[in-house]
């Protein structure tokens, strides 16, 4: 067991428990983290679960895949470590991970 921290654009922090095998989007939804809209339910169709993975944690999550990159490419607030939370599957190695939320989901 471990935790992941989502930080909203205004600085509000939400530390939530890791559930191995679930997507970060679902974990955020299960814990009612505001700022993750996840309209499409995890199909990488809507781009409303954009997170910016903090610092070196991108090595734990891996980089965005092709389709995901295309979704992110035109998104405002795009950063080098941007990911769609629905495409990151939680592992124990993510204990301590910090994911920042953009001001607006697209």
């Amino acid at each position: 067991m471990g935790s992941i921290t989502f930080i909203e654009h205004d600085g509000a922090e939400h530390a939530v428990e890791i559930e191995t095998g679930k997507s970060l989007m679902q974990i955020a939804m299960d814990n009612g983290v505001p700022g993750i809209d996840a309209d499409c339910g995890g199909e990488a169709a809507c781009g409303t679960c954009h997170v910016i993975v903090d610092g070196n944690w991108i090595s734990a999550t891996g980089k965005a895949g092709d389709e995901e990159l295309q979704m992110l490419d035109m998104t405002p607030d795009r950063a080098p470590t941007s990911r769609l939370a629905c495409q990151i599957i939680a592992t124990d190695a993510m204990d301590g991970l910090v994911a920042r939320l953009p001001e607006f989901q697209m």
Binding site: C40, E43, A45, C46
Partner: protein, 424 residues
């Protein structure tokens, strides 16, 4: 005294509205009444990944039971038969622990109508035979799944999104699929003919036999459907029929309670109905859309969740509004269609990419030189770009959109450099 908010309809809108109520600081009771034995679940996969077997029922709930428990959000199964606005009560039938036919009165301080829509049913000879299905809820999808037999005949009535998604899923499951549409082309009400032609081609390539301009006049079979009969005399063998001919908003409860109803429950920009204690959100609601400058009723998950947020704020006495840009998506085969905006009233269509032989293109709809909508097939960048252009009403040059040598980003950059660079 503790105040109570009751939500009617355990829908996408309800899942968001109840969550937003707690986030907005509502400390009173929250009770959701739904007519299915499920917590709110994702409906779009029912005709897509759930039907094709890629997703299971366990993956469908929007949030788990633990979330609602932790946030003290209660659920009851039953049917609301009446709202008494003067008394601020409603009549619940078939609630937990109640015997059939027995009803009880529940009091509310605030009421949210998230009653959604129901399928439009066909009334034709034989339309009550076994084996004729509609697709709206989990039970519908489960009964269709249980009827799938490799190599048998499935007939889909209706060439809209539900019909096409179902055709793709059943074809992928090995059924011999025939799709019948009474109009001259698929998706006739919602897309340009160029997009219809594309979907006609890919479904034909996927093994679906498509017949347009054909009216179903009835069904025949011995207890169970065996044939679909058409007005022109044509007959199609059918072991399974799925009818997808649109939905009707569930507005009867609101209407009987004297709320303003006109193609949906009329709400203001704060999702309030004509009663200050009652809000409405989702497929059942009709609201002025600031992007398009007219009233619309949308059948869409993103719209339901957006209106739910606004409605929750209203319940908590905060006046939030939304400049919501309608958008939709549809999965068929390996094709992800993402639709930004509403194309109704366009006067120019520009295609980017090869729709005739390829599987990736975008159709941009313009009106008086402004982008109003885009159908993007396996083109997520064009989709995101279109959402931005439409939402911000940016000036663009339509002809450039057809030129694939112009990078997508430059469609924005060249025409409005300030906004493009500011937007990142």
């Amino acid at each position: 005294m503790t105040r109570t908010c009751i939500v009617i309809g355990a829908s996408h809108a309800a899942a968001q509205l109840t969550t937003s109520l707690r986030q907005e600081g509502w400390e009173g009771n929250i009770l959701v009444i739904g007519d299915e034995p499920h917590l709110p679940y994702h409906r779009p996969p029912l005709s897509k990944a759930f039907l094709s077997g890629e997703k299971t029922a366990e993956s469908l709930p929007i949030r788990p039971a633990a979330f609602y428990q932790k946030n003290d959000i209660q659920f009851r199964q039953g049917r609301v038969t009446a709202i008494n606005r003067d008394q601020q009560t409603l009549t619940l039938v078939g609630g937990d622990g109640e015997k059939d036919g027995k009803s009880e009165q529940l009091s509310y301080d605030k009421l949210a109508l998230c009653t959604g829509a129901r399928v439009r049913k066909v009334e034709l000879p034989g339309s009550d035979l076994n084996g004729i299905h509609y697709l709206r809820n989990m039970a519908d999808a489960e009964s269709i799944t249980a009827s799938v037999v490799d190599g048998r005949h499935a007939v889909i009535v209706g060439g809209g999104y539900i019909g096409l998604e179902t055709a793709a899923s059943l074809s992928q499951l090995g059924m011999r699929v025939t799709l019948l549409d009474r109009g001259p082309r698929l998706l006739g009400r919602v897309t340009a003919s160029e997009v219809s032609e594309f979907y006609h081609r890919v479904h034909t390539e996927g093994g679906v036999r498509i017949h347009t301009n054909i009216a179903v006049s009835g069904f025949s079979g011995n207890g169970r459907v065996q044939k679909v009969i058409c007005a022109d005399g044509a007959e199609f063998p059918a072991d399974l029929v799925v009818v997808g001919v649109g939905v009707l908003p569930n507005t009867e409860l609101a209407e009987a309670a004297g709320l303003n109803v006109d193609n949906g429950i009329m709400v203001d920009e704060h999702c309030r109905t004509s009663d200050q204690n009652i809000v409405a959100a989702g497929d059942c609601a009709n609201q002025f859309n600031s992007v398009y400058g007219c009233r619309i009723r949308l059948e869409s998950v993103p719209n339901a969740t957006e209106q739910a947020r606004v409605a929750a704020a209203s319940i908590c006495a905060q006046n939030r509004t939304s400049e919501f840009l309608p958008w939709f998506w549809s999965d068929q085969y390996d094709l992800k269609l993402q639709i930004a905006g509403l194309s109704r009233g366009y006067d120019q269509l520009v295609i980017r990419g090869d729709r005739r032989t390829g599987r990736s293109f975008a159709a941009f709809y313009f009106r008086e030189g402004r982008l109003i909508a885009a159908d993007c097939v396996n083109r997520p960048q064009e989709f995101v770009l279109s959402k931005r252009i439409i939402a911000q009403n940016l000036a663009v040059q339509p002809d450039r959109f057809a030129d694939e040598s112009v990078p997508i980003r430059e469609l924005l950059l060249a025409d409005s450099p300030a906004l493009a660079s500011a937007g990142g």
